[in-house]
Symmetry: C2
Subunit: 193 residues, 2 copies
């Protein structure tokens, strides 16, 4: 194949992948984690299941691609990253339970032996802890008002976000996820409305 | 059947259930969540898989029974429940990754539609939040040093425990689970060594 055709094929394949990821997100939003089957996603983009498997060999691989896409959208350039923006992220998450459910269910599975999403989550958490520590350091310096270092605060902040998601998904009436997250930021000394 | 025989049969059935739950815990400890199949558990207690299904109709039902058993062992009578004992619980959990993995994987699954463990977890969290709020109230009264009420602190405390478990299971070298939990208790104003 001439070079131009190779490039065109690659671009087409990437567009197709993006289209599939978008369709998966729509199916998740409509039917939830369990309803998001490869066949439902294939149908939505007009592929056979075999054709879909060419792009994503397993449901887990497709779901990881969906979450990576979300990470990309949610991330801000490092220099603009700020702790208070996390409040907006948690409020946004409270409006999209299907995506939060997908994230939480896949995170749960990923801690089992040899799960295909394990390396995604392990890498993601290392990176998220680092970004949050950097944002805390930019805001507070070496110590937060509590006396904790940014590096020791970051895993707690991430843990609160994840843990609240489970409680909220199980019992949305009983758990005010954004309110609880604001409470936690106040514990850290963050000025929150 | 005479009444005495009915009672004997019931006791035998309960003993059998307890034996199965114990065997499941042992299989989980050896092989992890994925390796804990009904057939492996049946083999260990000398039952056919059919015989095991008589006591527990699904793997999820058996795992919920294991977690309920753990809840029973970990719980202290309400009057003796104290916040600082949670440090010991988290330290203990750090020595039994297989049980924590089972809990975390099943919690993840439970947030999906119609999952058999969903009502167990929903009920458990309502009860755990209530017990923790009561313990905080006994220690601090209406407000913690942070100004938060016990009822608003409880979901954060539970979230930190759960969230840290995921980070620790994924990357035990990078995450000091008991140390991070002690950091959180210090944020609350708890005197921790």
């Amino acid at each position: 194949m001439p070079y131009g055709d190779v490039m065109k094929a690659r671009v087409r394949s990437e567009e197709r992948r993006a289209e599939i990821v978008g369709a998966a997100l729509a199916v998740i939003a409509e039917r939830g984690y369990r309803g998001a089957s490869l066949s439902a996603v294939a149908e939505r983009v007009g592929l056979t299941q075999q054709g879909l498997l060419h792009h994503f060999p397993t449901k887990e691989a497709l779901l990881v691609a969906v979450l990576q896409d979300r990470d990309r959208w949610d991330a801000l350039p490092d220099t603009r990253w700020r702790v208070d923006l996390l409040v907006a992220l948690v409020e946004y998450n409270a409006m999209r339970p299907a995506v939060v459910q997908t994230f939480s269910a896949l995170l749960g599975e990923s801690v089992t032996e040899g799960h295909p999403a394990r390396s995604y989550f392990t890498g993601r958490y290392a990176q998220v802890r680092e970004s949050i520590a950097a944002a805390l350091r930019a805001e507070y310096g070496d110590r937060l008002p509590s006396g904790l270092t940014p590096e020791r605060t970051a895993p707690l902040l991430v843990a609160v976000m994840d843990g609240l998601q489970y409680q909220w998904l199980l019992d949305p009436e009983a758990v005010d996820m954004p309110g609880a997250f604001r409470d936690f930021l106040r514990l850290l000394g963050e000025p929150v409305d």
